[in-house]
């Protein structure tokens, strides 16, 4: 498989009134051609900042202090603003959370969808509008020809998100970055949008980076998953690795705190106690240690490196060190391990 995008040891700092916030503290991952990579994490974990750094869309007080973003081997961080403008919305495009603020209320949707074509490609206005109509049909806007001249407020929330997607894919980008695109939507609309993204991926072969905090959504859309906590990745692997053979206690906690439809009211939900650390002074050791029921002395002293679980599955927890004691994960995780065995996986 081709790595079309590779992020290496990314560090991002934000200068605030209270001091420097180390929002991203060494993140590395890659994206293969044609796949969907989901980055999962809670608010403040740095998942949005990570993908915004790829396109250099950080707020004014944010700086990328270290790292590389290789797009086909080219470091995007060395590119000028002008060169980046050529990539943005063309080769790499982005969808944001709120469909209400992503669209210009004073412009017809036909023009908005056609705009990236007019900026990046030498096409006539007529051709661009024709293409816009095709794409609107592709994303499931009924009767696109007639609706091209409508304004954003004439569409429902779900339709607006479809239009936002249409703008993002009108130039058939190689990479589509979706930053919580369904969080603001109702569940039924969310399901439709996810189906749409999957369908589009098959039709136009885009690679997708999907940012979300909802593990349910991840299970439905991702090929590979990276879990983020406090500005670092803690575990990554294929979707089956993460859901059926999770190794990091934080991943356990996330999976365990969601009720499934079989959870009874008498069962108590397992929550992760406490709150994420303040990244003004990141902890010396494992950032998750204070909330971790399986924390060890070493966790407070030294950040765990990535341990290999299987070929493409890594987790950053000292529990995987050969000297670590054997611990029993929560019951619901053990059930997941059972399922992993059934699927032919090898549980440690």
């Amino acid at each position: 498989m081709d790595k079309i995008l590779e992020v290496k040891d990314l560090h991002v700092d934000f200068d605030t009134y209270n001091g420097v916030v180390h929002a991203i503290r060494g993140v590395s991952f890659h994206l293969n051609a044609g796949e969907t990579l989901a980055i999962v994490g809670e608010s403040g974990s740095g998942k949005s900042i990570t993908v915004r750094s790829i396109l250099q869309l950080l707020a004014k007080n944010g700086t990328i202090s270290k790292g590389e973003v290789l797009y086909h081997g080219d470091d995007l961080l060395q590119k000028t603003d002008k060169e980046m403008d050529k990539l943005r919305g063309n080769k790499i495009s982005m969808i944001f959370q709120d469909p209400m603020t992503s669209l210009d209320p004073t412009m017809t949707i036909g023009k908005q969808v056609a705009e990236p074509l007019l900026i990046h490609n030498n096409v006539s206005k007529k051709d661009a509008l024709k293409r816009a109509e095709e794409v609107l049909r592709l994303v499931g806007i009924p009767n696109p020809k007639a609706r091209m001249n409508d304004y954003p407020h004439q569409f429902s929330g779900g339709q607006r998100q479809r239009i936002v997607i249409a703008i993002a894919i009108v130039d058939y980008p190689e990479i589509l970055i979706a930053d919580e695109p369904t969080t603001a939507l109702d569940v039924t609309v969310q399901a439709q949008i996810i189906d749409l993204l999957k369908e589009l991926q098959q039709k136009i072969g885009t690679s997708i980076i999907f940012i979300t905090h909802d593990l349910g959504v991840v299970a439905g859309i991702a090929d590979r998953v990276a879990v983020m906590y406090a500005g670092r990745l803690v575990e990554f692997g294929s979707v089956n690795d993460i859901f059926y053979n999770p190794q990091h206690p934080y991943t356990w906690g996330l999976l365990d705190s969601m009720p499934t439809l079989d959870t009874n009211e008498s069962d108590r939900l397992n929550s992760i106690p406490g709150t994420p650390p303040n990244l003004l002074n990141p902890p010396k050791g494992d950032a998750f240690a204070p909330r971790n029921a399986y924390a060890m002395e070493i966790d407070e002293e030294q950040q765990p490196p990535f341990f290999k679980v299987s070929k493409h599955h890594y987790a950053a927890t000292w529990l995987l060190h050969p000297n670590a004691p054997k611990v029993t994960p929560p019951a619901s995780i053990l059930n997941r391990y059972e399922k992993f065995k059934k699927l032919g996986g090898n549980v440690k």
Binding site: D214, A219, G220, E265, S271
Partner: protein, 310 residues
């Protein structure tokens, strides 16, 4: 069987319209009736615009209902005056937990003053020492560090703020709490904290909850009974297991089919059921009991078919 339980809140034909008589009139809640039993958690589920939050706000009288009755412990509270003594009494009995942990706390007030607001309004404490003592108790009850009572809301995380909101509601010792999407703005790992806390407090104090949400998996977990709302009407109401195992209304079915499950195998096999939004209601339909304890919005013919099947 239902009759053995004591009804605490009874909503009868509640209507809540806005902009009455204008072209942009909205029937946010349109003829809704249901009972909530003492000690239970009643889940109210719906998507945006279904009127679920409006229903909650009408019950707690943030709005003046357009029509219908709301009985609280047998007393009709739908018409009591906004500033009378009866209203003041009622305000102690029923409380609300809000959705947005960032907007629900006054940014200019200290945590202790936020929590003590109800104590001050109803003169429940005699002096400052007693007030501080009560605030400490409440903070302890929601697992927050009482040392932080002089801090300001922005210093707390979302989950912590939500617990401050819960402490504020508990300060006046209510019997009934309306939780308006209390966890939808929180992170997954924090949601469980808040839900567990709400359940612990319910057990300890014998509270009754009206839990409003769009997150069906959490509602199923926390609720005893669930009502599904759609465009201002309740389309289905039953025990939570019954709703999940035997949904009868196509809208409920569509809603259930859309819940994402954190399990890739289930997700890849899932088929979505689409609901036709064009003609949701017919004139001859109403909410009626089609199976014991299971209510469905349908016409008489359909209802009869369920009875005959039995």
């Amino acid at each position: 069987m239902a009759d053995e339980r004591q009804v605490i809140v009874s909503v009868k034909n509640l209507k809540q319209y806005f902009n009455i008589g204008k072209p942009n009139m909205v029937k946010a809640v349109d003829d809704v009736s249901f009972d909530i039993y003492k000690g239970e958690t009643f889940g109210l589920v719906g998507e945006s615009g279904s009127g679920k939050s409006t229903t909650g706000r009408s019950i707690i009288r943030l709005y003046n209902p357009t029509d219908g009755h709301i009985y609280f412990n047998g007393q009709d509270i739908s018409k009591i005056k906004s500033h009378g003594s009866k209203m003041k009494e009622f305000r102690r009995e029923m409380q609300m937990i809000f959705q947005d942990p960032y907007a629900s706390l006054n940014p200019r007030m200290k945590v202790k003053d936020i929590i003590a607001e109800g104590l001050d309004v109803h003169h429940l404490v005699k002096n400052d020492d007693e007030r501080d003592k009560r605030v400490r108790e409440l903070l302890d009850m929601v697992n927050l560090n009482p040392e932080h009572m002089t801090r300001y809301p922005y210093e707390f995380s979302g989950g912590q703020r939500q617990r401050i909101g819960i402490a504020r509601a508990l300060a006046v010792d209510p019997q009934f709490i309306i939780a308006d999407e209390p966890i939808s703005a929180l992170d997954v790992s924090i949601q469980a904290q808040v839900v567990n806390l709400m359940q612990d407090i319910q057990k300890k104090q014998g509270l009754t909850y009206l839990f409003i949400a769009h997150d069906l998996s959490m509602v199923k977990y926390i609720s005893d009974r669930i009502a599904v709302m759609y465009r201002g009407k309740i389309v289905e109401l039953a025990d939570s297991d019954e709703i999940y195992n035997n949904p009868l209304h196509p809208y409920t079915q569509s809603l259930l089919s859309a819940i994402p499950v954190p399990d890739p195998e289930i997700e890849t096999k899932r088929t979505r059921i689409d609901f036709d939004h064009k003609r949701p209601f017919e004139d001859d339909q109403r909410l009626q009991e089609v199976l014991p304890g299971h209510f469905l919005y349908c016409n008489d013919e359909k209802a009869a078919s369920f009875k005959n099947n039995k």
